[in-house]
C-alpha cells in the first residue's frame, strides 16, 4: 500500500489529463457524430476536421465570468461541480487498461467504482439545491432518483459477473475472460457462465450505464424541453465546464466497466496488436454507441424510466442472478 501511493498520485494526475482530453474530444466526436447522423458537416472550421474546436471552447469557457445567482448557497454552489469531477477522476485509479497499465489494482475495484458513482450523484443534488432555481431543483431530484433506481439492477448484474469470476478484482475479472472472444462474459458458450441470458445481462448493464450517466434517452436531469438546462441551469463558465467534463468522464468510466465486465477487457480475439489498444477500441466503440443512441431516440419520462427499472430491469436481472447462481452450482 505504501509504495503504491505514488502510483496513485501519479495516476490521479494522469486521470485528470485523460478525463479532460476525453471530455474535450468526446464533445467534438459527439458534435461530429450528431452532425453526420443529421447530415450536416458539424464543426469543421477551426483546424483540420474542426479539431481545434474543443480547446477553443475550453478557452472560451474559462474566460467567462463565473456568475453566482443571488440567493444561492455560495459554498455549495461552487463545491458542486468540484464534487462532480472528483469521484469521476478517482474512479480512473482502479481501472485496468491492460495487464500493466493500472494505477492501483484493488481487490474491491468493482465496489470502488460504484461507491464513487454514488458520491457523484450527491453533486447533482447540491448543484440543484444551491442554485435556488426551481428547474434545477426538479432536475436534480429527478437525476438522483434515477441514479438510485438504476443502481439496483446495475449492482445485481454486476454481482452476476462477480459471481462468475469469483472476485471483485477488475484484473481478476478480465483474466477469467481470457482466451478466445467466446470466453467473454457477453457470450455464454465457452466462458465460465454457461448462462444463455448473458447477452441480456449485457443489455441491462448497458442500459443502466446510460441511465447512471444521465445520457439520452435517460437524460431527465437535463431535459432541455422541460427543465431548461436541468441541474446546471445556473452554471456558466468553468462550473458548467466541470459538469460537462464530469459527464463525459462518467461515460468513459461506464464504458470501461462494460468493457471489463462483459467484453473481456484488454482480451483480444486475434492478437493483432497489444491488449491496451483492444481495450481502447472496445471502449470507444461503446462510447460511439452512446452517441449514436443519443441522436436517435426521444427522451423517456420519469415514470417510464422508473417503470423500466422496477418492472423490467430489476426482475430480469434478479432472474438472471438466480439462474447464474444455479448454473454455477450445477456445473
Amino acid at each position: 500500500m505504501r509504495l503504491t501511493l505514488f502510483n496513485v498520485v501519479a495516476a490521479v494526475i494522469i486521470a485528470i489529463a485523460f478525463a479532460a482530453v476525453n471530455a474535450a474530444y468526446l464533445v467534438w466526436a459527439e458534435r461530429r457524430g450528431a452532425a453526420r447522423i443529421q447530415r450536416r458537416p458539424g464543426p469543421n472550421i477551426n483546424g483540420p476536421f474542426g479539431l481545434l474546436q474543443p480547446p477553443l471552447d475550453g478557452i472560451k469557457l474559462m474566460a467567462k465570468q463565473l456568475t453566482i445567482p443571488g440567493g444561492a448557497d455560495k459554498v455549495l454552489f461552487i463545491a458542486a461541480p468540484v464534487l462532480a469531477m472528483f469521484p469521476a477522476i478517482m474512479s480512473f485509479v482502479t481501472i485496468p487498461f491492460s495487464e500493466n497499465i493500472v494505477a492501483k489494482n484493488m481487490n474491491v475495484g468493482v465496489l470502488m467504482i460504484f461507491a464513487f458513482a454514488a458520491l457523484g450523484s450527491t453533486s447533482l443534488l447540491f448543484a440543484g439545491w444551491s442554485s435556488r432555481n426551481k428547474y434545477a431543483m426538479m432536475a436534480s431530484i429527478r437525476a438522483v432518483s434515477q441514479t438510485v433506481a438504476y443502481e439496483i439492477p446495475m449492482l445485481i448484474t454486476t454481482i452476476t459477473v462477480v459471481m462468475i469470476a469469483g472476485s471483485m478484482d477488475l484484473m481478476e475479472i478480465v483474466h477469467q475472460q481470457s482466451g478466445s472472444f467466446l470466453h467473454w462474459n457477453i457470450f455464454p458458450l465457452l466462458g465460465k457462465s454457461h448462462n444463455i441470458l448473458m447477452p441480456l445481462s449485457f443489455l441491462i448493464f448497458f442500459t443502466c450505464t446510460l441511465a447512471e450517466t444521465n445520457r439520452s434517452p435517460f437524460d431527465l436531469g437535463e431535459a432541455e424541453s422541460e427543465l431548461v438546462a436541468g441541474f446546471h441551469t445556473e452554471y456558466g463558465s468553468m462550473g458548467f465546464g466541470l459538469f460537462f467534463m464530469a459527464e463525459y468522464a462518467n461515460i468513459v468510466i461506464g464504458s470501461c466497466m462494460t468493457t471489463i465486465l462483459f467484453l473481456g477487457g484488454w482480451g483480444c480475439p486475434f492478437g493483432l496488436f497489444p491488449g491496451v489498444w483492444w481495450f481502447i477500441l472496445k471502449l470507444y466503440l461503446l462510447i460511439a454507441t452512446f452517441i449514436w443512441i443519443r441522436w436517435t431516440f426521444p427522451r423517456t419520462t420519469i415514470y417510464g424510466l422508473l417503470n423500466l427499472s422496477w418492472k423490467i430491469l430489476i426482475p430480469l436481472s434478479l432472474f438472471n442472478l438466480l439462474l447464474t447462481a444455479g448454473l454455477l452450482k450445477v456445473f
Binding site: F6, D73, A79, V108, A115, S130, V148
Partner: protein
C-alpha cells in the same frame, strides 16, 4: 505506551507521505463533523456529513479494510446522505427560520456534555493497555463473506428482515393520509 509499532517516518519519504495523507483525512473527517453539527442550514449539514463520512471511509482504508471503506461511501454517502438531502428538499422547501440552539444555555450545556464525553473516552483510550492482535487483517473480502454466511448467518438474516421492515415502515409512515 502501548504495543503498537512506534514509527517515526521522515516527511519526505513514502511513509511520510502516507502520514500526511492520513493527517489530511483526519482534518477532513473533523471538519465535516463540525460542519454537520454546527451549520445553520440543513443542506450544509448534510454536505458536512458527506465530507465527514468520506473522511471516515479514508480512515477505514488505513485500517486495512478497503471493502468496508467502499461500503461506507456506498451506503452512507450514496444512500443515507442522499436520502437525508431528499427529505430536506421535501420537508423544508424554504428555510423559514435559522435553526441554532434552542435556548441561551442549551448550546454551552451541550458543548460541556460533549467535551466531557470526548475527554473521558480519550483518556480511557490512552490509559488502557490494549491487548496485542493475534491475526493480521489482510483486507480479504472472501473472509468476510465466509464469516457472514457461516458464523453470523443468523444476524445476517435478522438484519435483512430489519431492513425490509424498515423500508415497509417508512413507506407506511410517509404515505399521504387518504
Amino acid at each position: 505506551m502501548n504495543q503498537n509499532i512506534a514509527s517515526h517516518p521522515e516527511l519526505f519519504s513514502v511513509e511520510g507521505l502516507v502520514g500526511v495523507v492520513f493527517l489530511i483525512l483526519i482534518a477532513i473527517t473533523l471538519t465535516g463533523g463540525i460542519i454537520a453539527c454546527n451549520s445553520n442550514r440543513v443542506v450544509r449539514a448534510v454536505a458536512g456529513l458527506i465530507v465527514c463520512f468520506v473522511g471516515v471511509a479514508g480512515l477505514y482504508f488505513f485500517l486495512n479494510s478497503p471493502f468496508i471503506s467502499m461500503m461506507q461511501i456506498l451506503i452512507y454517502v450514496g444512500a443515507i446522505a442522499v436520502t437525508i438531502a431528499f427529505a430536506v428538499m421535501l420537508a423544508a422547501p424554504e428555510e423559514k427560520k435559522k435553526f441554532g440552539p434552542t435556548g441561551p444555555l442549551e448550546g454551552p450545556f451541550a458543548f460541556a456534555t460533549a467535551a466531557l464525553l470526548a475527554g473521558g473516552f480519550s483518556l480511557l483510550a490512552l490509559n488502557t493497555d490494549w491487548p496485542v492482535r493475534q491475526k493480521i487483517n489482510d483486507g480479504s473480502v472472501e473472509e468476510i463473506g465466509i464469516r457472514l454466511l457461516t458464523e453470523h448467518s443468523m444476524v445476517f438474516e435478522l438484519i435483512s428482515i430489519v431492513l425490509l421492515i424498515a423500508i415497509l415502515g417508512a413507506l407506511v409512515i410517509a404515505r399521504r393520509e387518504e
